[in-house]
């Protein structure tokens, strides 16, 4: 077999059988070896039992999406074969535990079934728990990867538990490796290209976001557990003590966001993270933050809705809610990270933006971006990439001449941003209220004041300067693929495939949904003959939002939607794109 730029490996079994940590092992080792990895977990809303699988792409180039096919499928039960073998191409490998007497369903003769007594070997070595380690060793052999990095990994991972644990696990890896070489050597034909050693880590979008927040000065986090957002809280619980901050697991999401608002009012950088159901509960408080011009950061790691929906499945369907979810009209910023670096950047910048614009900043992440792992250069996680900028603040000096109680917290300024004080500053006292108020903060129902204040709050975002749209590829593309969030990585992959087929394909993605970057988007799409808006939802929220802003009514715009809980594969996008490219010329 010729050298390949990537291999897709997948392990599947019942939930609670260590599938996660096995996938993590492969991803971590491959990353350390200098390969780029992308890890994708499929799981369901239960703790033990039920099919789960973890696919790891190991590649010689950066990868940001899963693949349509699986080259090596490791099956811990028959269900794994039945549910996944369709994606194993002819010549692909199915490594199965002999213990369950695996069979390939009819029609999949092209795949090679390799039975290995994983359970038996593990038992021989002392515990059935090591079954997955045998599979790891066997996988290394099947992919022609060196064994030492795996043994190193085992030593590190179990090191704290002592030699009695490390030894047998290393033996398990070795046995799996040896047995494949001995019994299935003829099938070990995968030849990955050379790795690109570098200083990379494997990280999820949630962890990247949490790290960004920490670097961005977040010192108070309050949240309520919810899939797929809990990790953000859990990561910060690990790290916050190192910087003297605090994370509160609150009694519900309403408490979480109100706690963060209280902290923001007091001058601390504060956030919460949640998913759809929790985000719905936060709508009232979002309006309060906007009205009181209190900085607060809210990450919504979207999942499949509505209601409880499919809590462990991917979707991008809270987008319009992020813009319109609260009653009345309350300015806010909505950022849409689409990759690990962007998740880190947005996690960090959100706090600067929240303080600069004195309003809520929402981060629209999604399950795929939040939970799946990816290789990323360590340098991306730069704690100093943007200095902490606190926005307009008065100093105690400024306040010296202000009579006590007469500070104008909501002074009408040209930019709409009013320098703020925080508790503790002498003579800076004021009233922050969700009721309409005058410059002093005092409640006011005066119509003229009302108009001024509404305009002031909206004016703040008129000059919003952050990059709203990004573009790659030719400006005069035959087709531009457009999306937000984790779908962008998939589109990038698809764009590469389409380009390889000879198409002039561009990629455009939104970095901000509010304030909507109308002009930049018009420019970015100006030269494209066709635009395919690809979204993981049922109603085409991104395209609808574009249309509100006058973009997307012409026939060159096409919509491609998916809402079955499974992310697009690059292949699906390529197919749809090809179909659209085949359409008669647009008018």
């Amino acid at each position: 077999m010729a050298e390949t730029r990537g291999v897709a490996w997948k392990i599947g079994g019942d939930q609670g059988e260590g599938i996660d940590s096995t996938g993590d092992a492969l991803a971590t080792v491959a990353n350390r070896m200098g390969y780029y990895v992308y890890g994708y977990k499929s799981f369901s809303s239960r703790i033990k039992g039920g099919h789960t699988n973890y696919k790891v792409r190991v590649a010689t180039v950066p990868v940001e999406a899963t693949t349509d096919t699986t080259d090596v499928l490791v099956a811990l039960n028959q269900e794994t074969i039945d549910k996944n073998v369709a994606e194993v191409p002819a010549g692909g490998l199915v490594l199965a535990d002999a213990a369950f007497h695996p069979v390939l369903p009819a029609g999949h003769a092209g795949a090679h079934l390799i039975e290995l007594p994983l359970t038996q070997i593990a038992k021989e070595l002392g515990s059935v728990l090591m079954r997955n380690m045998v599979a790891v060793g066997a996988s290394a052999a099947l992919m022609n990867l060196p064994l030492e990095p795996f043994q190193d990994y085992v030593a590190r991972r179990f090191g704290s538990k002592g030699a009695a644990v490390v030894g047998p696990n290393q033996a398990a890896v070795q046995r799996g490796y040896d047995q494949i070489r001995a019994e299935a050597g003829h099938l070990t034909q995968i030849r990955l290209g050379d790795p690109h050693p570098g200083d990379r880590v494997v990280i999820t979008g949630n962890d990247a976001l949490a790290l960004g927040a920490l670097a961005g000065g977040c010192r108070i986090m309050a949240a309520y557990p919810i899939t797929p957002a809990s990790d953000v809280m859990e990561a910060l619980i690990k790290w916050m003590p190192l910087v003297g901050g605090v994370v509160v697991q609150s009694e519900d999401e309403i408490a979480a966001i109100n706690l963060a608002i209280g902290a923001g009012f007091t001058g601390a950088r504060a956030m919460t993270a949640t998913s759809g159901p929790g985000f719905s509960l936060m709508q009232e408080a979002l309006g309060l933050a906007s009205m009181t011009e209190t900085p607060v950061v809210v990450a919504d790691i979207q999942r499949s809705g509505p209601s409880t929906g499919m809590p462990t499945k991917q979707e991008q369907s809270d987008l319009l809610q992020m813009l319109n979810g609260s009653h009345g009209e309350s300015p806010r910023i909505v950022l849409t990270p689409s990759s690990i670096p962007e998740a880190f950047a947005d996690g960090m910048d959100a706090f600067n933006l929240a303080e600069q614009y004195q309003c809520p900043v929402l981060i629209a992440s999604d399950l795929s971006l939040g939970l799946w792992t990816q290789s990323v250069e360590r340098s991306v996680l730069d704690r100093t990439r943007a200095p902490i900028v606190r926005g307009a603040m008065v100093t105690e000096r400024d306040l010296e001449d202000v009579p006590s109680g007469q500070f104008k917290r909501y002074a009408l300024t040209e930019s709409g941003v009013s320098p703020r004080s925080v508790p503790g500053m002498k003579h800076g006292q004021f009233l922050a209220t969700g009721a309409e108020h005058a410059e002093s903060g005092k409640v006011s129902e005066d119509p003229a004041n009302r108009v001024q204040m509404m305009q002031k709050r909206f004016r703040k975002l008129e000059g919003f300067a952050r990059e709203g749209v990004r573009r790659e590829g030719p400006a005069d593309a035959d087709m531009t693929l457009l999306s937000v969030g984790s779908t962008v990585g998939i589109l990038r992959e698809a764009a590469g495939m389409l380009a390889a087929q000879g198409h002039r394909v561009g990629l455009v993605w939104l970095r901000v949904l509010a304030p909507f970057p109308t002009r930049a988007l018009i420019e970015a799409l100006a030269g494209s003959r066709r635009v395919l808006v690809v979204e993981q939802n049922a109603t085409g929220q991104v395209l609808n939002l574009m249309r509100t802003h006058g973009i997307g009514h012409e026939p060159r715009f096409h919509s491609f939607l998916k809402y079955d809980g499974v992310p697009f594969t690059p292949g699906e996008v390529v197919q749809q794109a090809a179909a659209v490219l085949d359409l008669a010329e647009v008018l």
Partner: protein, 288 residues
């Protein structure tokens, strides 16, 4: 040292003449002076209701939140800056109807806050619907045939729910009320002070006179031991909560923020430098 005038604002009160809330305001302002606080170190978090407007009249850092969310916000304020004196205020509806969940959790978390609930047994600002503390049988706009619910018993609930400081004051009994507020602020933990604050417009049953006739003052009972939780519950049960004074105090109270491991002593509000290189390296080393 701040004077009474320092704690006043130029805002004229929006309350009805005779409203009990005036007395609460006065006692609060007196207490702030007696506690030797400065306006800039005071943070008031108020809810929605006639009661919630109290913050508008006290010169300090005022956060007027949405209905029922005083306690989570106040917790955020306090965690952000432990140098502040944080006082939560709200009505019986704000605290015990929509805010009930937060109330119960605040009790057991025991953040160092003082919570003044201005209890008039009615929804004042929305014009006279019954509230969770309205007595059974009470007739209001929404209970024209009389209230069929058993009222919330805030003091009993607080003591049973793990509160470390529970008191009740009466808007008309200024000296005691002011003392209770001061004791609450000094208490190292969460202090509930339920304050009877008659609504002269919508509650024609639980009037000043009614309370004067029905309330007894615990302070005049030397035998009462406010550190005995079961005794407190028993007394509240026997009196139907018609008592004023300090009802319960846990002398061993340690506030939440002192139990958070590694929480910085200096205000989090002032932390705006980059993360230390060493800390950052340590965190990144934990990643795959």
């Amino acid at each position: 040292m701040a004077t009474l005038a320092d704690f006043k604002t130029s805002e004229k009160s929006w309350w009805c003449p005779g409203c009990g809330d005036f007395g609460v305001l006065a006692a609060l302002q007196k207490s702030l002076v007696a506690l030797d606080l400065e306006p800039e170190k005071l943070a008031i978090v108020a809810g929605i209701g006639c009661s919630g407007k109290i913050g508008n009249y006290v010169n300090g850092y005022n956060l007027h939140v949405v209905h029922g969310r005083v306690l989570p916000s106040a917790m955020g304020v306090r965690l952000a800056n432990r140098d502040l004196t944080v006082i939560g205020v709200g009505g019986d509806g704000d605290a015990y109807a929509i805010g009930m969940g937060h109330f119960m959790h605040a009790l057991r978390r025991n953040v160092n806050l003082t919570y003044l609930v201005m209890d008039n047994h009615i929804y004042g600002l929305t014009k006279g619907q019954y509230s969770p503390t309205s007595d059974s049988g009470f007739k209001t706009k929404t209970t024209p045939a009389g209230n069929i619910e058993a009222p919330v018993r805030p003091l009993t609930t607080a003591v049973a729910g793990g509160a470390t400081f529970v008191a009740q004051g009466f808007s008309s009994w200024q000296p005691q009320l002011a003392e209770l507020i001061q004791a609450g602020v000094r208490h190292p933990g969460f202090a509930l002070i339920n304050i009877i604050s008659p609504c002269v417009t919508y509650n024609k049953v639980n009037t000043y006179d009614w309370y004067k006739q029905n309330l007894t003052n615990l302070a005049s009972d030397d035998a009462y031991d406010p550190t005995d939780r079961v005794a407190a519950l028993t007394r509240l049960n026997a009196t139907d909560e018609l008592v004023t004074g300090l009802i319960y105090r846990d002398p061993t109270s340690v506030p939440y923020e002192d139990r958070v491991a590694h929480l910085a002593k200096e205000p989090l509000a002032h932390q705006d430098g980059p993360v230390d290189q060493a800390v950052w390296d340590k965190i990144l080393a934990q990643l795959g």
